[in-house]
């Protein structure tokens, strides 16, 4: 215990001194620069306000991204050029083929399922009393990390040998219906879908909340007018509600695609990418930090970047039109 105290106090000292120094430096710079008047005042203010951000962006994002692109054409230790070898490897390696198939499955199944369920719930929520309680509970998993969510589902997917008591919910349900439970994480290709459920479980709430907001924003008089015209139920939804929330729906889909492309924590925590569940982002991490091959790892990062960019560009453009933080 005393050990713990002697290691913990310095940690907090370092936190508070770091925060203190950070603000002290800012205060001193502000005080000094604030005294400058005349022609130099504006450039100095500009440097102080913008400088730190620009330096960090340059050192943390721009230069590293350029270097990663360069590394993707180099050998494992990044000290010699290999041309396109790291990319042609992807085309021919059977493991990468599995990864690409899985990643494709992820980016099709996850967004469609997430967005459809989110839309269904958003529409239903609009129709019930006390909607805030189910809404909170459905949204809650978004606060939980992918690692936390994986552990929650590790218990759901738990499998015991035949004859033992099944303590996992999934196995128990399967047994209840008279079927034989199996070691879920080892059964291909079911395991990949079981991993997807974890992702959908955490992310569905996001789509539900923004779609719910979009549905509430449909002007009441339009709905009333078409109701007077005799539209009701499904027709109203298809002709009025859905067209008006369509752009939000597409944003939810696109967000799902990007998230599914980058999925890493769940796969790493649940299977480590084994048993045929590997995906792009996990392979990128293993290439660099397990295989120590910076060349292949960087090439995978570049592929990820190229796949993510067009979707994010679309997403950001649409979101920019629709809302600002307020």
């Amino acid at each position: 215990m005393s050990d713990f105290i002697t290691t913990t106090i310095p940690k907090f000292t370092s936190v508070f001194s770091a925060i203190f120094v950070f603000f002290a430096v800012l205060a001193i710079l502000f005080a000094i620069a604030g005294r400058v008047n005349g022609k130099k005042a504006r450039p100095i203010a500009l440097t102080l306000f913008l400088g730190p951000a620009l330096i960090l962006l340059l050192a943390g994002l721009i230069i590293p991204a350029v270097r990663t692109i360069a590394f993707s054409f180099m050998n494992p230790d990044s000290n010699g050029w290999v041309g396109l070898a790291n990319y042609t490897w992807m085309l021919h390696d059977p493991n990468v083929k599995v990864i690409m198939i899985n990643t494709t499955l992820w980016i099709i199944v996850v967004p469609l399922f997430t967005a459809a369920l989110a839309l269904l719930l958003a529409v239903m929520l609009d129709r019930i009393k006390h909607e805030s309680i189910p809404k909170s509970l459905l949204f809650m998993p978004m606060a939980i990390s992918f690692v936390g969510a994986s552990i929650i589902f590790k218990f759901v997917y738990e499998y015991r040998r035949e004859g033992e008591v099944q303590i996992g919910l999934l196995s128990a349900i399967v047994e209840f219906f008279g079927s034989t439970p199996q070691n879920w994480m080892l059964s291909k290709p079911l395991n990949t879908f079981l991993l997807m459920i974890i992702y959908i479980w955490t992310q569905m709430g996001f789509g539900m909340v923004i779609l719910s907001a979009a549905i509430k924003a449909v002007p009441a008089d339009i709905v009333e007018a078409s109701a007077l015209d005799g539209a009701g139920g499904w027709r109203l939804f298809r002709n009025i509600t859905f067209p008006m929330v369509k752009s939000t729906f597409i944003v939810v889909l696109a967000t799902g695609v990007v998230g599914a492309l980058k999925v890493f924590d769940i796969v790493r925590t649940m299977t480590g990418g084994n048993f045929g569940t590997n995906v792009l982002a996990n392979e990128m991490y293993s290439q660099v930090f397990v295989q120590f091959n910076q060349g292949k790892g960087s090439a995978l990062a570049v592929v990820l970047f190229l796949l993510v960019t067009p979707i994010l560009v679309y997403n950001i453009r649409t979101l920019r039109k629709e809302r600002t933080i307020s």
Binding site: F4, T7, T8, S14, V15, F30, R42, F49, L50, A53, L56, L57, A59, G60, P64, A65, T68, M124, L125, R127, I128, K129, P134, L137, M140, A143, I144, F146, V147, G148, F153, F155, V156, V165, I167, G168, L169, A172, W201, F206, V223, A227, L228, G232, G233, T255, K262, D265, T269, G272, Y285, V288, F289, G297, A301, F305, I316, L319, I325, S326
Partner: protein
């Protein structure tokens, strides 16, 4: 508003509201049960966890805090030598600066881009905005090399090794860097919409940019800053990739989320305590969620592009 519509516009009834309630509540229960299962499991004894499923334990309650004591303080030498408490502390130590630093730096940059006139400001803003598309994976390796080896052109060292790899600063810094594009973009939207008259009046009264920033912009930008802070806090607390890459996984610096990820592979008694460990980890964001729900939703919606 929805109540009014429900009463007066029968046409809005796509599904009758009873069916809607049934569907919503069924899905809500399905959605909540896994978390409930973890919570119940975490209060069971080692023997019980393996002996009977958690839902039957609800009928024969026999609960204990044993797992929490073991996981926190680590008197169980088999699996968790030191407990997760040091890692929990590390998470706090990582999260506070990694939330404060980027938000402050981004607020300053956003102010400059919105209210200090200079040539190329629009181009600069757009470039920062566009950086949002660069995934983390593009930066990991070179940034780690910068921390461990410095930067060189040929044999000329233009930047010495920072020596912060495996140090808290080595985790704060990447989090700060990666948070900036989104934070600057969102805060810029917020700050640029502040009333122009207010800024001009302050300048006429002789206030310089520093004074305007402190006295006018900061107080008025608080709602935006708060929403973004919550998002950033959760992002850092729940992060795994940056923690794995930049924290060495040791008790000295690794956050609880990465410790938990490494515990998952262990079965036996470590497995029974996993439930308590997991609940400790998710408790913090859940508390944030339930106490600051309005800000939380706003922050998440604003930050959705990042995830």
């Amino acid at each position: 508003m929805s109540a009014r519509l429900a009463n007066h516009t029968p046409g809005r009834k796509i599904f009758s509201s009873r069916l809607a309630a049934l569907v919503v509540w069924t899905i809500t229960i399905i959605w909540t049960v896994p978390t409930l299962g973890l919570l119940v499991t975490s209060f069971k004894t080692d023997k019980d966890i393996l002996g009977q499923p958690w839902w039957s334990s609800l009928l024969h309650p026999h609960f204990t805090l044993e797992n929490y004591a073991k996981v926190f303080l680590g008197n169980d030498t088999q699996s968790l030598n030191s407990g997760v408490l040091p890692y929990f502390i590390n998470s706090i130590v990582i999260t506070l600066p990694a939330t404060i630093f980027p938000i402050v730096i981004a607020t300053m940059a956003a102010y400059a881009l919105a209210w200090i006139r200079f040539r190329g400001s629009e181009f600069l803003f757009f470039s920062i905005f566009a950086l949002q598309v660069v995934p983390l994976q593009m930066s990991l390796v070179p940034l780690l090399l910068l921390f461990t080896g410095g930067a060189h052109i040929g044999s000329v060292t233009i930047f010495p090794a920072l020596g912060i790899a495996g140090d808290f600063a080595g985790i704060w810094l990447p989090h700060t860097m990666f948070a900036l594009p989104l934070a600057i973009y969102l805060l810029h939207n917020f700050i640029a919409s502040l009333p122009r008259d207010l800024m001009e009046a302050a300048h006429v009264d002789g206030a310089n940019h520093f004074k305007v920033f402190r006295m006018i912009v900061l107080p008025l930008a608080i709602p935006g800053i708060a929403a973004l802070s919550i998002f950033q806090f959760l992002w850092v607390w729940n992060d795994l990739l940056i923690a794995l890459t930049f924290a060495s996984g040791t008790e000295e610096v690794a956050p609880i989320n990465s410790k938990l990820a490494s515990l998952v592979g262990q079965y036996g008694s470590g497995y029974t305590q996993l439930s308590a460990g997991a609940f400790i980890t998710i408790a913090v964001p859940l508390i944030v969620f339930f106490s600051l729900q309005r800000y939380f939703v706003r922050g998440l919606l604003a930050g959705s592009v990042k995830s």
